[in-house]
Subunit: 254 residues, 2 copies
């Protein structure tokens, strides 16, 4: 039987990245798409608690069952798993292809990765894909090529101690990219600036901007390998505990 | 010099929990509050990219400098660190006191914890507090008592290998609570149900609900200790890498 593959993203169902990912997924199995009806970048692991969600079947990808959802990327996965595909076994969830980097600490802010993580929490093997190119005209040829290799690898071999992969693909043609490397989440940070301005009514506003700074010399760091033009794959989980600190902080116990 | 303490939350600046936390913080240092102007539960690590943010000084806590922000909890911390307190050293960030549990996997969905995590990413020692009582009339006496012990402990002793604590406080009076335990993030999961209905126009909607299921027998799991009426403290970070899987997945490299 063909595997059932759920496709989602955070840029919205009409973004170019998800069309490319649907094309990859359709080579391997039956595809169902549930994606936000508007861009949801930077939504992190947000869920919608205070209002109802809408789900609407749409005709966006020829011959593919697809739904747009009024909620966040995580909402999309929850609705797919618990409503649309309630009695079916989802073999793989793929999210993206996002524009921009989800490497390093960006995994925390990324709606793309949060959707994939939500699926992994539900026990589904999941891969989030991101291409380091913000342009609407971005060339997805290399991203599709490597996504296909990784989807095949995970479907054929499975995963043992992890259910979630954070995949980032450098900008460039296939020939420019050196290969795929399994990495760790690199240490880096955003140095934030806020653009300050006044609106037409003279009220002050602040608009988030910033610069990413790499702070990791480890050769396994995803951000280092991306700079060297490798596709990076970081096996990821959801346990944030810093285990050595449990002993260190015993003095807080009463 | 008195320590500078940033207070934030995700329930909004007029929620009862933050007033209680401001009172605790004010015992130890100079307090600045920057909190959302509306409830932001379940916002995870969402940030606002596509619109400007507003910041407005408000008179909510007597004698305390306070600002409401139009953005998410993470936006509040970014604005506090990079605009309001740009040239000052923030000694501690406390977030909460949230209503409901941030234990186990809930750390991922929690705006309270995301605000605290954002501060930790900026190098600031941070504590997120949550009281396991959803009622607006919740009694914060015990929560304040234990928050005070923990704030003092962190200010006096600092932290070594971690910058973020996830603190959950059981419902009940001080005498009902057995003490404070440093724990690991417990394994658990939401079994989701969606309430389905029709709106006044006859259009179908889905509303998220669900039941939390504990799946962790480890005596160090926060959710187990909360059930036994301990305040739980989980030293937390931001590295999601599953290190053993790096070797396991080498077959994906090309």
């Amino acid at each position: 039987m063909k595997p059932l593959i759920l496709v989602t993203n955070d840029d919205g169902i009409v973004a170019p990245g998800i069309r490319n990912l649907v094309e990859v997924a359709a080579k391997f199995g039956e595809v169902v798409v549930v994606a936000p009806d508007k861009p949801q970048s930077g939504q992190g692991h947000a869920i919608t608690l205070n209002q109802p969600l809408r789900l609407r079947q749409v005709d966006v990808f020829e011959g593919i069952e697809a739904y747009e959802c009024s909620g966040t990327p995580v909402d999309c996965v929850k609705l797919a798993k618990n409503v649309l595909l309630k009695n079916r076994n989802i073999d793989l969830c793929v999210s993206g292809i996002n524009h921009g980097s989800n490497a390093s600490i960006n995994i925390i802010y990324s709606g793309t990765m949060s959707a994939a993580m939500e699926a992994s929490l539900e026990g589904i093997n999941s891969i989030g894909f991101s291409l380091l190119d913000f342009s609407f005209q971005a060339d997805f040829t290399a991203a599709k090529h490597f996504a296909q290799i990784l989807v095949r690898g995970v479907l054929e071999r499975g995963m043992i101690s992890c259910k979630l992969l954070n995949v980032n693909i450098p900008k460039g043609e296939i020939k420019d990219i050196k290969g795929i490397r399994v990495c760790k989440q690199g240490e880096g940070n955003w140095v934030e600036e806020f653009q300050e301005g006044s609106d037409p009514r003279g009220e002050k506003y602040y608009w988030l901007t910033g610069k990413f700074v790499i702070m990791d010399e480890n050769p396994l760091a995803d951000i280092r390998n991306l700079e060297e033009k490798y596709v990076t794959v970081v096996p990821s989980g959801h346990d944030l505990t810093i285990y050595p600190a449990i002993e260190e902080l015993k003095h807080l116990e009463v």
